[in-house]
Each structure stands twice: as C-alpha cells, then as structure tokens.
Symmetry: C2
Subunit: 92 residues, 2 copies
C-alpha cells in the first residue's frame, strides 16, 4: 500500500516531461491514483502534465478530481502573500 | 436570461484584477454561474481570478466545476500545436 505523499507529484520549474515521467512511473508501479500539485505559475504546467499523461501515456487515466485553493506564504522580509494552488487527481 | 457566452470571462495577459472585476460584475448583474476560461500560461491566472473572486468579493460563490482539456492551435507557419486549457465554473 502506498501513502498519499508517495502518490504525489509536486510540479516545479523543470520541463513538463520530467513530471510526466514521474506520474507515469507511479502508475506503472501500481498506483491507482496520482495527485499532481502545483502553486503559482507552475499551475499551467500541472495542467500540461495531466493532459500529456492521459492523452499520450496512460490513456485509461481520467481526471477524478480538481481542487483549487489559496495558500499563504511567508516572504523573506517577514510579510505574507497569498498564492493560488491546484491539485489534480488522475485515476485509472 | 443570459446565454452561456455572456457568462464567460476569457483570461488573457492583463493583471488578474481586471478579470476579477469582470467576474464580479457578472454576478452583480444577476448571473448564477460564471465561467472562467484560459489557455496555456494564462491558466495560473484563471485560478488566481477564481480564488480572489470567491475569497474577497463574492464570498458565497463556490467552485461548481473545473474541467481541463487540450486544444489544437494552428501556428503561423501552418503547423499545429497542442495547448492545455481550463474552465472553472463559479456558482452562487
């Protein structure tokens, strides 16, 4: 059995295919669901990763849920700012 | 009665607050649902617009549906490329 965090791919600034590979690997290792998470500008890339994965590599995967939220981050100068986040759950 | 397109706000490259204002205006004009659409890099901004709208301006609005998809665009040189898109429906 895999824990929630093992099934999560956090999207950063690398090219989308790096993350697609991570998602595909999780499915190939037997995961039934993979959670794709991103914040701020990486949100667009998270959608790309989900779309590329289900259109090209894991064609029986479906989007089972998409949630959006706001997270508060602490800046270096001590102020706090809000950033949007997304969580896309792919299931097969 | 308003048609679907009247309730749609298409997100482009302007600052998020411009689009937030458009969404809030639709709700103030009596819309029960407002559709926020974006493609490519504007997807992150669409999530910002939805979050700012429901956290600060239309606090009784909820995310009723989020869809992601891939669209094919024609480039100027005649080739075609795929771009991800998002549609966020806010309802009150």
């Amino acid at each position: 059995m895999q824990s929630a965090s093992e099934n999560t791919v956090l999207i950063g600034k690398k090219p989308p295919m790096n993350y697609v590979l991570a998602v595909v690997t999780q499915f190939n290792n037997g995961a039934k669901n993979v959670k794709i998470r991103a914040r701020g500008n990486a949100i667009s890339r998270a959608v790309d990763v989900a779309e590329i994965t289900r259109n090209r590599f894991v064609t029986d995967a479906k989007v089972s849920r998409i949630d959006i939220a706001s997270e508060e981050l602490s800046n270096e100068d001590g102020t706090r700012s809000k950033v949007s986040s997304i969580e896309i759950i792919l299931g097969r």
